[in-house]
């Protein structure tokens, strides 16, 4: 036992400095090397309102900002943000599932400052539990799509958009892909369609919810998926499993997130991505911890503003060029990567996260019990 305590003491001594956030200092001046947060962003993107930058911020001297993120480009963005602002930023980089488990298990004593994952539904659910800071949107020139993704209570911040449930196929095998959702229920596509399990794969729930919304409601949506199952739908855990079935020709159509499909097309040019009307947009979203200290909140706001600045967008687009970087930007003046079709040509219809977010667990459980087996 003494050995154990000694070892722990040594480790604690060695590691706690880097691992444990130090107590929040109150009114220390920002170090001279750290520029005010996001000034560059605002200067470049919103020259008319430079003073709208997070003005209450600059006391974040040595309080680490902890970012929980599942984005492929997160580590590049966090590094660039720290270099640009001097704000010490630490990343917990993981899949959406474990990050949300962490956040909910630490609900009594949150440690996170920023959560950055795909899909607004999870944020709507967190907002309903009072866990998200409301009332802040970075002062950046959001385009029309971006503005449509901002929630009424400004409890989260969209950072880009991809599409859920896009049609991914091998053009050597499929020459005429289905053109409507109902086509998937017909004989030519029997035993040919695969998708992920929304209980396991984060970006799949928006697809299920979007289709249910299109079908007219939960029960009509359930009827649609039941028919799809009767027509031989195959459900896998995550993207690699579904893509694998596509490559090994166990299925001919994979219904997966657009970034995954377009990314697969970069590796293998005969893989194509098509969009059925309507496709459901999945925004990349930043949420700020409502219970964080004022210093951390100021840093988190600076982080969101940096992400949406031209500099931040450039890092996002370079951080994971065959994966998550394949999103459509939602601020004016930034173009999508060349592999993406023009967003206005994609037949998209957004769903209300505050309607569909609270239904997630019920619908996922129904899907697991009824469609997966």
């Amino acid at each position: 036992m003494p050995t154990l305590i000694a070892v722990f003491a040594i480790v604690a001594g060695a590691c706690s400095a880097s691992a444990t956030p130090s107590p929040v200092p109150t009114a220390t001046a920002a170090p001279p090397t750290a520029p005010p947060p996001a000034t560059a962003a605002h200067a470049a993107t919103a020259p008319s309102t430079p003073s709208a930058a997070p003005s209450a911020a600059p006391s974040y001297a040595n309080v680490p900002l902890i970012v929980y993120s599942a984005q492929g480009y997160d580590s590049a963005v966090v590094k660039a943000f720290q270099a640009a602002t001097g704000i010490p930023t630490q990343l917990v980089d993981d899949s959406t599932g474990p990050l949300l488990v962490r956040i909910q298990a630490e609900a009594n004593n949150p440690k996170w400052g920023v959560l950055w994952v795909d899909g607004a539904e999870a944020f709507a659910a967190l907002d309903k539990q009072g866990m998200l800071l409301r009332g802040y949107e970075p002062n950046v020139p959001f385009n029309a799509v971006g503005r449509s993704l901002i929630p009424a209570d400004t409890s989260y911040i969209p950072t880009g958009v991809t599409m859920a449930g896009t049609l991914v196929y091998d053009s050597k095998v499929v020459t005429a892909p289905p053109t409507s959702w109902n086509d998937l229920l017909t004989a030519p596509w029997k035993n040919a369609v695969g998708m992920n399990n929304p209980s396991v794969s984060g970006p799949t729930y928006p697809f299920v919810a979007g289709l249910m919304n299109y079908a007219g409601g939960v029960s009509q949506g359930e009827a649609f998926f039941t028919k799809l199952k009767a027509n031989g739908l195959k459900v896998n855990n995550t993207n690699p499993d579904t893509l694998h079935e596509l490559e090994t020709k166990q299925i001919r159509i994979a219904l997966i997130q657009s970034s995954a499909g377009i990314g697969a097309g970069i590796a293998n040019p005969s893989i194509k991505t098509a969009f059925i009307d309507p496709s459901t947009p999945i925004p990349g979203v930043i949420g700020i911890d409502a219970k964080a200290s004022p210093a951390v909140i100021a840093e988190a706001k600076a982080f969101a503003a940096y992400v949406l600045s031209p500099a931040g967008q450039k890092v996002m687009q370079g951080g994971d060029p065959t994966g998550d970087s394949l999103y459509w930007p939602i601020v004016d003046g930034v173009s999508a990567l060349p592999q993406l079709p023009v967003l206005s040509t994609v037949p998209a219809k957004a769903i209300d996260p505050y309607t569909w977010g609270p239904l997630e667990s019920t619908i996922n459980r129904w899907f697991s019990d009824t469609i997966v087996p």
């Binding site: 444990t20 630490q90 993981d94 899949s95 962490r102 630490e106 994966g323």
Partner: protein, 606 residues
């Protein structure tokens, strides 16, 4: 000396049934009493410290999680202070199906693993089976390979368009059979085989051949000898069955890959889905957790019933190195071929699967000879994917966890086997097996609930998201296995070994150091290597507890594998496995070079 008999002092009655009363003014008699009291405190000190450790590592976090089945309000995960709704949910159709599936799979896997592992151990340690030095090394290689890789390796071989079909073989019938309960039991039996083999080996190695010889002298054939030996080996066999059962109940690697793809729901997966939902349903997950813990009681009850009141201490200072049975030529050939086939099946597929996947281009999920490339290795080793930092971080934590776990594991094994341990031993056993039966995600979430309380933060004890807490989580994950593996060898050490050293003037600690440690040195070394290997690629605890900015290697691999960088992730897995294997080879080499000769002849699974 009966003065204190009416008091309720902490010191328990000694062997004479008398209690001591301490008063500094009472002269020589009291001084004797005082030294006895101190002795008793000393004797109690270790178990108390041990229970404190077990409490902090396992009981508190597990309880913090499990209590949410009844009182979600306690940790702010639901509105009710008391509810039975979660238990009711846990008896819903999906969960019950999952639990029954898990029980059936675990029983079948225990039987297969104990029979195959037992035969292999017997062949390696008690016969002149060729390759006796090779097979134990392969067992350890098998132990290092995560169960999901074994499952995946087979999928790669058998599936339509897979490796075997590239050679023109039609594997569709085999694939259909593999994709379901049969495949799950098969893969889990392969991955559980090392636990059975090592536990039974430890029991066998500690046993001189005098019992077999006595049986033979009295005219017993192989069957008769087995009838004598199996009861003597009962603690080892039952221990092996118990650990395989609990390991299989809690397996998540196969549950989340093969079983999930084959739509064969097992309990751990149902639990995972409850937690992974949004918002997470900790209450339902905790209720399923209770069912898993209750299931761990099954092997304990069987073990207690089978071993009640019997002693199995057969290793003493006089134990000799056992003689080996010479197999008949035909038996020898068949046994050699069977062993070789076993390892080709158990190891060949996952290794091939991992290597092939890591060499694929495209998005790394299909096989064709044209697609093979070393690009992913170049990226992992020379690119800027940053495997070095996670690998160094995880390696150092795995080393610390291994050392701590071995020390604690030995002490716990001693507690479990000490005579008179009775109820305390059984409760400890239940706690340990119960924690094995819970999947890692439960323990990890329990750590957040227990060690991220606002009260602790106010006291300055901010343990959550620190490296020490992550190490505690690793130790907690490895300790039950470690203690189990040591129970066999420790239970067979006769007290006379230590007593002999005490008679010759050694202190209690020195007596242990001179008798027990040398005899167990190889078991301790292998135990440490096991924890090292398992910790290096441990996922669920790493995911939920890792300190911001310090990503463990398993989390990095998982992100690449579950994202669109399958080939890179698999290449990382191969690099990490190579590192594990190198560390094991170096550690064993150093042991051979540096350890005193007597230590090398001690007990161990080789």
């Amino acid at each position: 000396m009966t003065m204190g008999s009416g008091r309720t002092d902490a010191a328990p009655a000694g062997p004479s049934g008398r209690r001591a009363f301490v008063d500094p003014d009472l002269g020589p008699i009291a001084r004797i009493s005082r030294s006895r009291v101190l002795g008793r405190i000393g004797r109690l000190g270790l178990p108390i410290a041990l229970w404190f450790a077990i409490g902090a590592l396992l009981v508190v976090p597990m309880a913090a999680f499990l209590v949410q089945a009844f009182s979600p309000r306690l940790f702010g995960t639901g509105p009710e202070w008391f509810t039975l709704a979660n238990i009711e949910h846990a008896f819903g159709a999906t969960t019950v199906v999952g639990l029954v599936d898990s029980l059936v799979v675990s029983v079948a896997t225990s039987l297969i693993a104990v029979v195959v592992g037992g035969l292999l151990a017997w062949g390696v340690h008690r016969t002149d089976l060729p390759g006796r030095r090779l097979w134990p090394v392969l067992v350890w290689v098998l132990l290092l390979i995560p169960s999901f890789l074994v499952a995946q390796g087979w999928e790669y071989l058998l599936q339509p368009g897979g490796v075997l079909s590239q050679f023109g073989l039609d594997t569709s019938a085999l694939f259909t059979a593999f994709y379901g309960p049969l495949g799950v039991v098969f893969v889990l039996s392969m991955t559980a085989l090392p636990f059975a083999y090592i536990t039974i080996s430890a029991a066998l190695l500690n046993l001189g051949s005098e019992f077999e010889e006595a049986a033979r002298v009295h005219g017993a054939g192989p069957v008769g000898t087995a009838r004598i030996m199996i009861p003597i080996l009962a603690p080892g066999l039952l221990s092996a069955a118990a650990i395989v059962f609990a390991e299989t109940m809690s397996d998540f690697g196969v549950a989340s890959t093969l079983a999930a793809s084959a739509h064969f729901p097992v309990a751990t997966y149902v639990l995972f889905e409850a937690i992974n939902n949004n918002p997470a349903d900790f209450g339902l997950a905790a209720a399923i957790g209770w069912l898993l813990v209750a299931s761990a009681a099954i092997p304990i009850l069987v073990q207690a019933w089978a071993l009640r009141g019997r002693t199995f201490a057969v290793v003493s200072g006089r134990t000799r190195i056992p003689a080996r049975t010479r197999l008949r030529p035909t038996t020898r050939t068949i046994a050699t071929i069977a062993t070789a086939v076993l390892f080709v099946i158990a190891l060949g597929a996952p290794v091939l699967g991992a290597v092939v996947a890591s060499l694929l281009k495209d998005f790394g999920t299909s096989f064709s000879f044209q697609a093979l490339t070393f690009e992913s290795y170049r990226q992992v080793l020379a690119g800027d994917l940053g495997l070095a930092d996670p690998l160094i971080f995880s390696t150092s934590l795995a080393v610390i966890a291994a050392v701590v776990t071995v020390v604690l594991g030995l002490a716990v094994a001693r507690l479990l086997t000490s005579r008179g341990g009775g109820r305390v031993g059984r409760i400890t056993d239940l706690v340990l097996l119960g924690s094995v039966a819970l999947p890692g995600i439960v323990l990890a979430a329990g750590y957040i609930f227990a060690y991220n309380l606002p009260g602790l933060t106010n006291l300055g004890l901010d343990l959550y998201e620190t490296t020490p807490l992550l190490i505690m989580g690793y130790v907690a994950t490895a300790l039950p296995q470690q203690a189990r593996l040591m129970v066999g060898p420790v239970s067979q050490l006769q007290e006379s070994l230590v007593l002999a050293a005490r008679v010759h003037g050694s202190s209690a600690l020195a007596a242990w150091g001179r008798t027990v440690v040398p005899v167990l040195s190889r078991v301790l070394l292998w135990g440490a290597l096991l924890t090292f290997a398992k910790t290096l690629l441990e996922l669920p605890v790493s995911q939920l507890l890792y300190p911001p900015g310090s990503r463990p290697v398993s989390v990095a691999i998982n992100l690449y594998v579950s994202g669109l960088h399958y080939d890179t992730g698999t290449a990382m897995t191969v690099v990490a496995l190579v590192e594990e294997f190198a560390v094991i080879v170096i550690a064993l080499g150093l042991f051979r070079l540096l350890a005193p000769r007597g230590w090398r002849r001690g007990l161990g699974p080789t």
